[in-house]
């Protein structure tokens, strides 16, 4: 009995080792040196990691559907240089640890060409340092965050931004608040990490120059804990806030509005662009945000005469079954639109290097729905640099005014002034297909 037990122990380890061996030999193939990872003669693989479930997923979980819809449209019309785009979506529930895991899987298992639209300031920072994207030459295209630090080419050599930075946004909010509500008590709710801290820089003395009567920093994901948003509102009410800036993710904005309704707290709302479109997530919030201020760099979703809006609406109906056309769909499709141009411009010999070079060399000339210019160059990985300000109408959509005429402003992430933009958006390429 003893001998068999001893043998059993050895046998168990041997069996386990064999199992591990066979498991490992399965899809571990050497990369063919001739073609780039994620690219074959007929397909291009891209990957995205973002919150699809969880307290921070509101709104953002509609982005992949919209992006896929635009990619499907392009695929149905010949693809990019003859290749069809395949988007692999991974859910990280806004948790840095999961974002790291997902990115590892996208690179190691799914073998994508590039990561696109990765969402979340904290997530992107964690991924960049943990997964060594720069050192491994893996592009992180058009990250879904406005943290100004991502334009640092030394730290993030393969990342490109698309959203205006939070410093830019905060500066513009500051200018708006000081001009429109001078002398009033202004209060701020912001996320307690680099996302919110970036905004604080923008509100600072040499930038937007806003003095807040009360600021509350909420830890990321705490908005989902019951009664936490009520505690914020109690604080703001206690200080008698008259103008309330909310610089948080969509779910935080949503919970704030609902908690304020419960406590009958009704200041003038200014909702940061990251989380503004809450009407499309929960229609119950619409009555409370009518007349609230927010900002965007894309045309309004209900703009009747914008050619991009018309195109994207059609694509949404055709390729994104069941999804409403709202600002999340618009943003998703716009990012996909810009991505297709980058892939196109990288040429038939599509590699990670040629993709990054294409954005540097030609990015500033990419067509897009944006009403402010893209700022890619050999020295800059910054995307859009401005916003127009508007208010929410009776259906909860953001509009600039009743005539849909836009007055966008631009600025930089430094101490430069906020000025009216002189950018005239070029005509959309035929059928919305970049040539």
């Amino acid at each position: 009995m003893i001998r068999t037990t001893r043998r059993k122990f050895l046998v168990t380890s041997a069996v386990t080792a064999a199992a591990a061996l066979s498991l490992s030999v399965m899809p571990a193939q050497a990369i063919s040196p001739r073609s780039e990872t994620g690219v074959t003669s007929t397909t291009i693989k891209l990957g995205i990691t973002l919150p699809m479930t969880g307290s921070a997923s509101f709104g953002y979980n509609q982005l992949p559907g919209a992006m896929k819809a635009y990619f499907d449209y392009v695929n149905a019309n010949g693809g990019v240089n003859g290749r069809k785009i395949n988007l692999i979506v991974k859910n990280d529930a806004y948790l840095p640890k999961q974002a790291i895991q997902n990115t590892q899987d996208l690179i190691g298992k799914d073998k994508v060409l590039a990561v696109i639209g990765a969402l979340g300031t904290a997530n992107n920072k964690a991924v960049a340092s943990a997964v060594n994207l720069g050192r491994r030459g893996i592009p992180s295209l058009f990250v879904n965050t406005g943290f100004s630090g991502f334009t640092d080419r030394k730290k993030y050599p393969t990342s490109s931004m698309i959203l205006p930075s939070y410093i830019m946004e905060a500066k513009m909010i500051g200018k708006y608040v000081n001009e429109t509500h001078p002398g009033k008590k202004i209060c701020l709710l912001y996320q307690d990490d680099d996302f919110g801290d970036d905004a604080l820089v923008g509100f600072g003395k040499d930038y937007g120059n806003v003095v807040f009567t009360e600021s509350v920093a909420y830890p990321s994901l705490s908005q989902g804990v019951p009664n936490v948003p009520d505690s914020w509102i109690t604080k703001f009410k206690g200080k008698g806030c008259e103008v309330q800036v909310v610089f948080g993710v969509a779910s935080a904005t949503l919970y704030t509005i609902l908690a304020a309704a419960k406590a009958q707290y009704a200041p003038k709302w200014i909702l940061g662009s990251v989380g503004a479109d809450i009407g499309s997530i929960n229609p119950a919030t619409v009555p409370y945000i009518i007349g609230a201020t927010s900002m965007s760099f894309l045309p309004s979703v209900v703009d009747p005469k914008d050619e991009y809006v018309e195109l994207f609406k059609d694509i949404n109906t055709q390729y994104n079954k069941g999804a409403k056309f709202n600002s999340w769909a618009l943003i998703g499709m716009n990012t996909a639109f810009v991505a297709v141009q980058a892939l196109q411009s990288a040429g038939k010999n599509l590699t990670r290097k040629s993709l990054l070079a294409a954005i540097d060399n030609n990015g500033a000339k990419f067509a897009s729905a944006g009403l402010v210019p893209l700022n890619y160059s050999k020295t800059s990985t910054a995307g859009y640099n401005g916003y127009w300000f508007g208010t929410f109408n009776s259906t909860g959509d953001l509009v600039p005014n009743s005539t849909f005429t836009y007055t966008p402003y631009t600025t930089d992430s430094g101490t430069g002034a906020v000025v009216k933009s002189t950018y005239a958006r070029p005509k959309m390429p035929a059928k919305g297909l970049p040539n």
Binding site: T53, G54, S222, G224, P226, D230, T234, K262
Partner: protein, 302 residues
């Protein structure tokens, strides 16, 4: 002044919901000596049932009882098909508590996985039947709304009903006897196995109510991954232990204590200390009274 009053009101409401969950856990412990983590899953599943009923009939007053029935049924099912055979098997005394806990954890995982699969991205909405806007008292809105009153009312009614059943009826007597001395009860003609299943069923109904109220008191929507339910399970369990896991009154005391103290900490110290404070409260209570606030040293109470 109003800040403190509001904090208290928020805390009492949250605490009473935790008490319901704690009652659910205490009931299972007392009837079968099992720590039931699947209670969280049962609450979740019942809330989805409630949401579906609400969607189809539009009536909260129909959704709540149906959800309670669903909870009772699911809970009884789990006891009959999973726990009973398990408890009969494990003769090893030292594993008495560990294996059932792990088994209920496994059941929790399965329930969540199935719900996730069936419901996918769909969100179950349970909109409050009454207004959740606070009453206006001397010009200030306070944290007491018709909805809050309803929640407190439901919890109070359930507690009274349970106490009456346990203390005053034959059924309650059988329940207490079956858990305290199963062999003797069998000899007296009490159908112990049936009674135990019944205990689980009542526990399931309590858990279902807690789940529905937690949803209604919070965001109004229930998803399979909803954080509110993890919270409900953890705090419910902690509340049960604080109160002394042998006693229903203890569950209520534990729940209210936890709810109020956490609300105070949330208001005055910020949300990042809330969970750690729950741990500290628990440790402090157990250090001073190792059997919980209402716990009785040594033997078990009927």
């Amino acid at each position: 002044m109003f800040e403190f009053l509001n904090t208290l009101l928020i805390g009492i409401t949250a605490g009473s919901i935790y008490s319901l969950m704690a009652i659910s856990i205490v009931l299972v412990w007392r009837s079968t000596r099992v720590v039931n983590f699947a209670a969280g899953g049962i609450a979740l599943a019942s809330s989805f049932v409630g949401a579906t009923i609400l969607e189809t009939t539009g009536s909260f007053w129909l959704a709540l009882p149906v959800a309670m029935l669903a909870g009772a049924a699911l809970s009884a099912f789990i006891e009959y098909f999973f726990l009973r055979p398990l408890l009969k098997r494990s003769g090893d005394k030292s594993q008495e508590i560990f294996l059932p806990i792990i088994a209920t954890l496994g059941i929790l995982g399965i329930i969540k996985a199935v719900l996730h699969f069936v419901y996918g991205d769909r969100v179950g909405v349970i909109s409050p039947p009454l207004s959740d806007k606070g009453f206006i008292v001397s010009g200030e809105s306070i944290a007491l709304s018709p909805l809050r009153l309803l929640i407190l009312g439901i919890v109070l009614v359930l507690m009274i009903v349970l106490t009456l059943v346990f203390q005053r009826t034959n059924l309650g007597l059988s329940l207490r006897a079956a858990s305290f001395a199963p062999e003797i009860s069998r000899l007296s003609g009490i159908r112990v196995d049936l009674i135990r299943t019944l205990g689980w069923a009542i526990s399931g109904a309590a858990g279902a109510t807690a789940g529905i109220l937690q949803t209604v008191n919070g965001s109004g929507s229930v998803t399979p991954e909803a954080f509110e339910f993890s919270l409900l399970l953890v705090f419910g369990f902690v509340a049960a232990v604080i109160g002394g896991i042998e006693s229903l009154v203890g569950a209520v005391v534990g729940g209210l204590t936890l709810g109020i103290i956490l609300a105070i900490i949330l208001m005055f110290l910020g949300s990042s200390l809330v969970f750690f404070s729950a741990f500290l409260i628990l440790i402090l209570v157990l250090l001073l009274r190792p059997n919980g606030i209402i716990g009785v040293k040594g033997g078990r109470r009927a």
